[in-house]
């Protein structure tokens, strides 16, 4: 089938790239969503600046998940001659590709969610100090989604070896 005729290293490399690229996209998206709301609200209510940086840090954590997974994936590469005839190499290529897709898209969704919720948190905190911790609980639920992606990425690729 044409899927196996493409070199497993292609699949693995694209998976690794998607893991880091999409995670960073999610983190960036979340940072700008939260950052704009935080900066706008802080014009009238400067006290919210320091506490609401934690929302930005939650978004950055999503990018950290992505880079950790990409480093783990690239550590699995090793040279095999004639990889399209080696079942273990083909298996590892597919595992790394879909692992990268999983981690990347889960972190993309997580980053956007944390950004939207962080934006709401900053705006609510500006109006009523007591709301900060309550809305932060929602952000924590959101950031769990990125962790799910990391867990599944690890479970998928633990048994992926090129030789």
């Amino acid at each position: 089938m044409w899927l196996q005729e493409i070199s497993p290293y292609t699949w693995a490399a694209i998976g690794t790239a998607l893991a880091i690229g999409l995670s960073v996209t999610g983190a960036a998206w979340g940072i700008f969503l939260t950052g704009t709301s935080l900066l706008g609200a802080a014009i009238k209510v400067p006290r919210i600046r320091a506490k609401n940086l934690i929302s930005i840090i939650f978004c950055e954590a999503v990018a950290i998940y992505g880079i950790i997974m990409a480093i783990i994936f690239q550590g699995k590469y090793s040279y095999v001659e004639n990889p399209t005839a080696a079942p273990l190499a083909i298996f590892a290529g597919f595992a790394l590709f879909w692992g990268g897709v999983t981690v990347g898209f889960a972190n993309l969704a997580c980053g956007v969610t944390v950004g939207i919720t962080g934006s709401g948190c900053a705006l609510a905190d500006a109006q009523n100090r007591t709301l900060f911790v309550k809305i932060l609980v929602i952000e924590i639920f959101g950031s769990a989604l990125g962790l799910f992606g990391v867990i599944i990425g690890i479970v998928m690729t633990t048994s992926a070896k090129f030789n």
């Binding site: 196996q4 298996f91 879909w98 999983t102 939207i116 919720t117 009523n128 929602i138 639920f141 799910f148």
Partner: protein
Amino acid sequence: MSNPDINPMDGAAASFFGFAGVASALVFACLGASYGTARSGIGVSSMGVMRPDLVMRNIIPVVMAGVIGIYGLIIAVIIATNLTSPNDYTYYKGFAHLGAGLSVGLSGLAAGYAIGVVGDAGVRAVAQQPKLFVGMILIMIFAEALGLYGLIVALILGTKK
């Protein structure tokens, strides 16, 4: 452990579909859960300004959206732990796992979307009329059941030998 009748090259080719199942289970369920969390979160942030005392009760839509993500995680783990080597994997298992992943994933996406929209409208309504709380919970339970149907089918497909 490895069955001598199974050709490892077939196992390796079929693993594309198995891993696609794992990815779709987690990614689509996470997309649904993230929409539900974000949309309900916006609603809670808005209504919290008017009624701060009701905020902790109104985090229930967010929890229910998170449960949709857990459904996807469960199926992804079940499939991934059966996908350890190309020597005991078949096209039968590969396509069954793909079906399982797509069923929980797409159901979770739909259920999460519904929970998000209902949660947003619900928490804003509860802020103005607290008697609506039970009604909102009932509607969201029906939406959650949709994700559960996907989980049931995925469990049946994902554990086929």
